[in-house]
Structure formats: C-alpha cells, structure tokens
Amino acid sequence: MGVCPVVGSVLSHCPPSSFSRHKELLLFFLKPPSMVLKAFFPTCCASADSGLLVGRWVPEQSCAVVLAVVHFPFIPIQVKQLLAQVQQASQVGVAVLGTWCCCRQEPEESLGRFLEGLAAVFPHEPWLRLCRERGGTFWSCEATRRQGPGASSEDQVTLIFYDQRQVLLSQLHPPAVLPDRQVGADPTGTGGLAAVFHTVACSEALFRSDRFDEGPVRLSHWQSEGVEASILAELAKRASGPVCLLLASLLSLVSAVGACRVFQLRPLSFLGSKLSTCEQLRHRLEHLRLIFSTKKAENPAQLMRKANTVASVLLDVALGLLLLSWLHGRSRIGHLADTLIPVADHVAEELQHLLQWLMGAPAGLKMNRALDQVLGRFFLYHIHLWISYIHLMSPFVEHILWHVGLSACLGLTVALSLLADIVALLTFHIYCFYVYGARLYRLKIHGLSSLWRLFRGKKWNALRRRVDSCSYDLDQLFIGTLLFTILLFLLPTTALYYLVFTLLRLLVVAVQGLIHLLVDLINSLPLYSLGLRLCRPYRLAAGVKFRVLEHEAGRPLRLLMQINPLPYSRVVHTYRLPSCGGHPQHSWGSLCRRLFSGELIYPWGQRSDRQD
C-alpha cells in the first residue's frame, strides 16, 4: 500500500527555522497505487452478520455504494425478485455487489468456497469480498474482476464509511453556480458524491423492511431495528387534508371580497397602495394561502419554503399576542393616549420655534425680509391648522389606539406597519412642508437655469433635446436679466427653507425605514431552516468531509465520511422568503442628485407604479 507517513518526511525536508515561525501545518498524502475502487459502506452494517452486499455500482467513478446486507439463509430467486422490485420503484440499478463476512476468527475454507460459489449465482463485475474480525478493528477487502476465462485481476479498495440515516435525510447544496452556466438536471452528472447521495435517497423502498418483518429475505440497514415513524406526524398528516381544504376555501373567500369592485375605485385603491398596513396584510394573506394550499410540495425547496412561511407566521402571531398582553395590561393604552397629544403639541411648538428662528437671522445669515416673512407666516398658519385638527381628534385617540392594539393579534408585523402609518399620518404636516419647499425650490432652480441660459444667449431646444444658441431681442434680454437677478438673490431664502424641511422629512423617513426594516426581517427570516441547521445540521449539507481512520500497512485504507453542514449565512441567503418589496430604489448618488435639483423623493418604490 502506498500510504506514506508523509508528515514526518515533509517536516524533515523543510529547514527547521521555517517551521519554528509558522503555525502547524499538517499534510497527509494518501495514494493507493493503480486501479482504485471506492466502496461506500454504511456504519450501521459494520456489526451485522455475514451475508450478501446489496447496492449500486457506479462505473464512471469506479465506486460501489453498499445499501444493505442480506443475511443467510436466503433463496437466490427471492433476493433477485426483491432487487427487481426495488429497481422498479426507485429507478436506481440495485444489484448484489459481493459478500460480507463478519466472524470471530479467520474464515474457514468451506465458507470461503461457499462464498466463491455465490459469485457464480449473482454475476457482478467487480465482485467485492469484505471481511472483518469481530472485535478487531481492521478489515480486509478484495475486489476481483474476471477478465477472460480463468484470469482475474484484483483492484485496490478504499473503504469509506458513511452514516446511512444522515446521508438519506440530507440535502446537498452545491456551491452557487454563476448565472451564465446551466444547472445540470441530472444529479449524477455533477460529481461522484452527488451520485452517492442520490443513490441512497432513492432507495427508500429497500429500507422499508426491518428485522421484525416476516418476509423471505432478511436485510440489515439503518432501519433494521424498526421503521422510524411518529404517531403525531401520522395523525397530523391525516388531519391536514380536510383542515387545509376548509381554510383554503375561507382564504379564497376573503381574497375574493378584497378583490371586489368597491376597492378598485379611485380613493380606496390609492389609499390601499399608500398604506403599508394594507401591503403587509396582502403579503400575509398570500403566505397563508401558500401554507394551506392543498397542492403537495413538489421538491424540497418548496417544502422548505412552506415550512419557513409557517414558522414566520407563528412567530409573528406569538410576538403580536405578547405585545397585545403587554399593551392591554395595566392600562398602558391610557397612558399612551395621554402622552400622545402633548407630544404632538410639543412637536408643533418646536416647529414654531424653528420657523421663528428662520424668520429672524438663522445662523447669522441675512434673509430677504419680505419673502422670509411670507413663507414663515404661511407655514406658521399651517401648523396652527394642524394643531387644531389634532385637538379635535383628541377625545377619540384612546379608542383608536385600543383598536389598533387589537390588531396586534394578527401579527406583530401588522402592528408595526400600523405604527409606521400612524407616524406618517401624525407627521403629515412635515411632509406637506417638504413638498411646498421642494416645489418652490425646484421652480426657482428651473427658472434660474433657464434664465442663465438666456443670460449667455442660449436656449434649450426641446425638439433636439440640447442647448442651442439663440438671438434674443433687447427687451427680452432686459427682462430676463432682471428676473434672473431677482431669483438669484431670493435663492438663499428658499434654499434654506428647503434644506430645513428636507432634513425633517429625511428624519421621519429614517424612522419609518427602521420600522419597515424590522417588519422585513420578521417577514423574510427563514426560521425553520435556521432551526434545522441548529438542531439537525446534517439535513442541510454544503458538502462532505473525510477523516482518516486507523491505518495498518497491507490493509485497505479506511475513511469516515461526514456531512459538512451549510454555514448560517448561506442558509439565510438560500432560503430567505421574498420580502414585501419596500426597498429603496435609488442609490445614494442619484438620491443626492435629486435632492439637489429639488425633485420629490419617494423613499420606497410605489407599488401602484408597478401594478398594471
């Protein structure tokens, strides 16, 4: 066997000084010479009685996947029948691969000849003979090929142990492929290990019989101690059919009501598209329809998505009920309602102080007095209207808050969206001020740019969409220059008002953004996948890892194959649920540009723009 204990040799070749400064490097080189056959052997069969090895032979990778051991005594016809059944059920070519011998001492001659005879009954190339001493740690393994009459050649075998249950239940996640490559439909084509996983996963039919069955053939595999099942899971499966049907019909009724003509009319549809609560409710309705749909999940990805949706909805409702109990206990709603109106008053007062400051000499800048007074008084009157409106609403606040608190039982996300909407409504005057300031500023900027072109003798050609030179009359030039001067000297005042209100608006947008972020987090976090990764890491596999087991010269190489679980970041990335779509559409650069030119910014893309 060509396994060189290379650790020592490499270390001795390198000059000692280079290693003394480095952390430990370990290198292992394992090279069985010439033709190598890999035999995947399940760890559960390592202590089984002697018998026949049953599994699949993959010629392209020269590897044999052992699925089960058929014990003596057996009737060859029945074994062949069983294999044919399994092959039909799983579309995987299962055959007898060789013999397995586990006995106290070296096998006797008669047993050896009996085993030879079996090779004639179940013809298979190559024929494996695995042997293990009970209580010993080392195995012997031979693989023979018959090449022509009488001559046979032996291959070297590498034994790889694998945990059958883990490999059966796990799901390989290949590394992310680049978008210009096609993902192969056939899993066996992508690699030898994928073929192993595929084989084990498809052979469920073989694992159905256990030790306690009265069938003609005795098998040993991971379920031979008894088929795994759970009463709760079975009951849930039976009950889920009619329950899903009922709930699906209810949900379709609700969505039909929501889609009726009344809501398509102008004011309601506009409101529905602006309020984030309606968005969130629609999103959750879709989720619920997905959960309770009567169609079975076709592939594991859909199953995971369903499970993640269920987990997300449950967490949402649980947190919502927690919030509800906290709100309604100890009359917190009363306190909240009592503090809300004074807070709104306080905000309005602060705004008034701000405007008084702007009407004076803010930061030492000298404003144009008349324009300043006009704008300041206009905004002050607006605030006064707003305060009166708030005071009008004050008796109803507690009732409204109480009903809003009730909505938390639909989920924390709904409550948070409602909070974001309430914040938006309460700061509506800031939004209005921002719009006035922005429009005024934009008008001014447009005027200035156009008159600047006139000042230089140029004109904007709308047809050709470019700037052309133009000869103006003298009076045009005179009026244009006058207007340009007026606008230019009024610019600082308008710009300052615009700046102040934009900053306020951005502050409100930031608060709303935070709330939306939280809602998005609850909506899209794949909790079931994360829980699975935590508790059953072998279910989500990024790959495999090998460990070299004790080795003796002259014996075959033994490796232990374990599942390498997916890192958490990839779990979140692969399984995250689609979010509500409330993400900012613009990059920072375009945002700054729009701010500078005075265009109105809408922080989240409006869904009404994208709907038909």
């Binding site: 490499v10 292992f28 394992l30 090279k31 033709m35 190598v36």
Partner: protein
C-alpha cells in the same frame, strides 16, 4: 466649604454613615504621611474628615495636581469617577471578554491541514483556537492543477500555493483559484516540498483516470 467639583454622588456609596451623602476625594501621593482615603461629609456645615483604612483604590489628588482647574478638570474628574463605578468597569470587562472569545472562535487559526486522497479529492481544514474546525472538500474531478503563485505585495514578492479548478463550460479554462494555507503562510522552501508531493499524486491520478 471645599469647592470640589466632583459632584458624582454615588447611588450606593461604599460607606454609608448614618444615611448621609458622602463625597470622596483622594489624597496626593506627595503627602506620604496621609494614607488612603479622605472621607468627607458634605452635608454637615463643617466638613469633618476621617481617615479610613481603605486602600483598595489608588490615591491621586486631582485637585492639587492642577488638572482639576476649569471645565477640562470637570470632564477629567467625571471620567475618573465613572471609572471607579463598578458597573461600567464590569461592563467593560465583560465586553472585553466577549470580544476575546469571539476573536478566538472566529479569527485566530491554530492549525491548517491539507488532505489529498487520490481518487476522492482534496480537503482543507482550518482549526481555530476555540476548537472549531471549518472544512472544505473539493472533488478530484473538479481539480485541474496545484500551482505555486507569486504575487507582489507592497515591497516584497510572496508565494502561495493554490488549487486551480476546472471550468465546466470551457475545457481549458479555469473557473476558480483556491489558495491554501492562507493563515500559516509558509515560505517558498516548504511550499516547494508540498508542491512536489502534490504533483506526484495528481500525476498518478491523471494516469489512472485516463486508462480505465
């Protein structure tokens, strides 16, 4: 009345004497005859001083060393007093411990291992100081070659061993370059030995794969 601006009144003074509020001041090291703390009762009309055998905290007189003049003195005094507060100190210690554990678990790599199995593939393992191991396995079918690359980094040339992966679309292309021993960064002489052994195995593997 002493104009001590160290107005941090501790919610739980170390000594509570008859429920009165106490202010602490510290004795300068240049007064060796005075040991330890001066213990000042601020609410009595004549501040009485008592000496307590209480030397757990260091002795510094901020007032007499001159840094305690003016607003900067206030700030310094406040920071010093807040450091004496055990809550902030324990929070700082806790954060340091957590940061250290995080560093050991996520950043500090103790050992790197490269395992090449002829017919199966190449496995790279990094073991962290906290015992965590992170493993990557690349199947032999995807490996094109193992080479030593050189790169110019600032003023020197560094050598690193890397694995070239095959491109599934283009037969002669390379889809990815995976460097190994990124933490250990062995020097060229070690890398050459590793490279030679790897090439032996890869050559053998290519030979066996071409004649089935």
């Amino acid at each position: 009345m002493m104009d001590i601006l160290l107005m941090e009144v501790f919610p739980r003074p170390i000594h509570v004497l008859s429920g009165s509020v106490s202010l602490y001041t510290f004795i300068a090291p240049q007064n060796p005859n005075k040991s330890n703390f001066l213990f000042l009762h601020a609410c009595s009309p004549h501040p009485t001083t008592e000496e307590r055998p209480f030397s757990s905290l260091p002795e510094v007189d901020l007032y007499s060393t001159g840094i305690c003049r003016g607003p900067l003195g206030n700030l310094t005094a406040c920071i010093w007093l807040s450091l004496q507060n055990s809550m902030i100190l324990s929070a700082a210690i806790f954060i340091t411990l957590v940061g250290l554990l995080g560093y050991l678990h996520f950043v500090k790599i103790d050992q790197e291992t490269l395992l090449i199995i002829d017919s199966l593939g190449i496995q790279m393992t990094s073991s962290y100081a906290s015992g965590k191991e992170s493993t990557t396995f690349i199947e032999m079918g995807k490996v094109k070659d193992i080479v030593i690359n050189e790169a110019i980094y600032m003023q020197k040339v560094i050598y690193y061993l890397c694995i070239l992966l095959k491109d599934p679309v283009e037969p002669h292309g390379i889809s990815q370059v995976v460097p190994v021993f990124q933490s250990a960064k062995p020097r060229l002489d070690c890398l050459i030995e590793v490279y030679r052994s790897c090439q032996e195995i890869l050559a053998q593997q290519k030979a066996t794969s071409t004649n089935p």
